[in-house]
């Protein structure tokens, strides 16, 4: 049985990959690995296989993406591993997939509407191309605009993918707010950073510059944002109740990690 070749934009690590696996199969493969490969949480977009850009040798990658000698499908051909996000048109992006470290895969559709910012402070996990943990007084859209579209700031990115994470009571009361079920390390440092936003003349502050791009999915507040100089797209994450009811296996894996 012939299989279609899929194109995936992986964010952890940033790479463009051709594969004969469906998104769910690819998520399992990428997260769980094989006997000789590494494994872990995976976040990736399905990319329109018709997408082409001079920066990538996509057709060469597709030609090499053939089944193994035993007939099993080719799991991955890496086409590029450097500055990938900035060269992929957002129009070519399909669903976003979140794979847990034990291989449960959840697909998210993009939404036409970027959520209105809520009151209080915000916490962002940048996923690609760099991955610091950042607190900000800006909502997701102004935060994206600050990083990608503001010509006046020193550190500017051509494209960005980030998740807004929950701050719970800390969003309103960094000093005394209850931590509740927020699993962040060094919570006192996080409180300090949040307090600094109120006392200093900055919009954003890095909490941790060596934070790994992986994070607990249960901390996602509204969803995942991806944007370049042209546009911003939003992939909303369903509520915990919906996830539990409709995607129990994924929910259980994501919520117990």
């Amino acid at each position: 049985m012939s299989r279609d070749i899929h194109l995936y934009l992986s964010l952890i690590p940033e790479a463009l990959i051709a594969s004969m696996l469906t998104p769910e199969e690819f998520g399992v493969y990428y997260a769980v690995g094989t006997s000789k490969k590494a494994r872990g949480q995976a976040i990736f977009f399905e990319v329109d296989p018709g997408f082409r850009h001079d920066y990538f040798r996509i057709d060469d990658g597709f030609r090499r993406c053939v089944p193994h000698e035993d007939g099993s499908p080719k799991a991955s051909i890496y086409i590029s591993v450097y500055r990938v996000l900035e060269h992929v048109s957002l129009h070519a992006l399909g669903k976003l997939y979140l794979a847990t470290s034990d291989g449960r895969v959840l697909g998210l559709e993009s939404s036409d509407h970027v959520p209105e910012p809520t009151n209080g402070l915000h916490l962002y996990q940048e996923i690609a191309p760099v991955n610091p943990l950042v607190v900000s007084s800006l909502g997701p859209k102004p935060f994206y605009e600050l990083i990608v579209k503001n010509p006046n700031i020193l550190i500017r990115l051509p494209a960005i993918c980030f998740a807004e994470l929950r701050l719970g009571e800390l969003a309103e009361d960094p000093e005394h707010g209850n931590v509740g079920d927020l699993p962040y390390s060094r919570i006192e440092h996080l409180r300090q950073c949040l307090r600094a936003l109120a006392t200093k003349t900055v919009d954003s502050k890095m909490v941790n510059r060596t934070e790994p791009a992986t994070f607990s999915y249960r901390t996602i507040k509204s969803g995942i944002f991806v944007g370049n100089e042209m546009e911003l797209r939003f992939y909303p994450c369903p509520s915990p109740m919906t996830l539990r009811a409709e995607h129990y296996r994924w929910w259980r894996s994501a919520w117990s990690a």
Binding site: Y29, V32, S35, V179, D181, L182, P183, S253, A257
Partner: protein, 695 residues
Amino acid sequence: MLGPQIWAAMALFAGFISLGVASWLYRWVRKQDPGSERAQEVASWIRDGARTYLRRLYLALTLMALGMGFIIAMVFAFDIEHLGTGAVRLAPGRGLSMAIAFLAGALCSAVAGYMGMSIAVEANVRSATAAQESLGGAFKVAFYAGSVMGLAMVGLAIIGMSAIYLLTGDPEIILGFSFGASALALLAKAGGGIYTKTADIAADLVGKVEIGIPEDDPRNPAVVADNVGDNVGDVAGMGADVFDSYVASTVAAMLLAASIFASDPAAQVRHVLFPLMLCTLGILASLIGIRFVRVEKGGSPGRALNGGTIITTAIFAVMASALVLLGGYNLGLLWATLAGLVTGVVIGFTSDYYTSARFRPVVETARVSGSGAAINIITGFSYGLVSIVPSIIGIVAATLISFYLTNLSGISGIYGVGISAVGMLSISGMIVSSDAYGPIVDNARGIAEMAGMSQEVIDTTDILDAAGNTAKAITKGFAISAAALTVLALFSAYAEVVGARGIELVISLRDPVVVAGVLLGAVTPPLFSALTMLSVTDNAFEMIEEVRRQFRERPGILAGTEPPDYAACVALASRGALTSLVWPAFLAVALPLLVGFVLGPEALGGFLGGSIFTGVIFALLMSNAGGLWDNAKKYVEGGRFGGPGSDAHKASVVGDTVGDPFKDTAGPSLNTLITVMSLVSSLFAPIIAALHLFR
């Protein structure tokens, strides 16, 4: 008034009624819907794993029992009254009776455990299936299945004791029955504890920590062994544990009566039979109490279980009062009975305070976990140490109240202490029913998860499981306290048996031989704990490698495209648990004999005293600290102090892993250890009194 033989016959009859109700409940549970094909398949893995372990365990126990039975028959074939006088006389009939009683004790304990296990592995899937309809229905299936264990246990115990008494009229022969039950209990409890924690630790460390798969995930090769372990540790193991305390306390009181009332044969028979009568009433109270345990719509399983215990306690108190008042017994015996009964229930609920997430110790341990595993362990350990105090105060209160009130009423206070232990254990039918409910609903939750049942079913089984954990904590506190009172009574019985051979036992701490005995006794429970816990780490290490190997060599397991080899982990756990039992078993039987035959009866008295003190303290500490760490972790997982994945969670997982062999392997086995050592000493006391090296 009814004659003494009639009372013994009534006890026998009550035992058969209890066994009959257990059999009826067994059939009732089996008639319930076993659920979907997938659920039955998952349940069959657990059932087959449990049977594999039980087959191996009982084969090993049969060989052990036959071997020890032969030794007992040989040793007691000599007329012990005249040992050491140079004129050796043979009494083969007595040796044979003692050996048969020993084998009967082991057999009854094994049958009770087997019945409990058999129905538990049938009830788990039926309870999960019933949870699709209602909480009350699922509760009923699980509780009735637990009652099979509770009622079979007390039924077989009283049948054995009363039948031996009716046939021989000699409480010392029943001591053989008790020793058989205890020897089997020690191996079943320690073996079950090693098995369950081997599987649990391996499943958690590789599955949850290394790979990141959730609890009860069918992709984990150790998940079935983990679920089997719940049954072998908490159904068969705990059942055998309470069975042995139940029989030992009754026998101790009977022996004390035989010795104290030796000058008045009529009073002797009446008081020898009094403990059996209390057991009979306890069975009737449990049978009535079980009928009241139900969960109505919107009701709580925890409240239903606690309500059942309180109702049973009240019914038994009324019945015991009637027995004492109408039967013409001394009123002091009523106070002793009630002191034991109330203390047992209070200590059980005190254990709940130290291990429940509703109270400060667990919450505080969870809170400080954010500072790391070391702080979590120090805090949990400290609360574990504090938790010893109320239980010890309870035991002290029960001992002193029963001793002095019985004494004031004109009967030997020592007999009152023995009756107090019987009073505490008389409602064991109800207590074990609630305890055995726990692993059944724990398994039901696992089956619901593995069989992919709906979220509502999993939520329902979660509610059932939470009540099971509380029942488990209460039973552990109860079992340890009951064992403490039992061994105090056995200790007195030992002194009486030695005294009957003309040696007045003077246990003075100014005597270096006694001090040597005390120190040797004191070191035995820690050594036993170390041996069983090291067995867990050794076996878990092997199983961890096996689980890693399966994940490494067969990536399809994690991808969900091929099933894991559950049987390999089950076989590993079974083999490891049984081979690990050799040294702990040897310690329990050989050490008291060695001390007795070498250093003499006073040193053995000191040995028993030392082992009782450290045994009770270690048992309470380990059981409560382990339960506390477990629930602190669950408290964090419930979304407090950062929830799953937080620093507090990582620290609390370490604490829970440390606590696992504390609470389920070493801690609960210690009460059986001290009971076995006390029984060995009492049984061989006449021979030791006649033949010892040092004095």
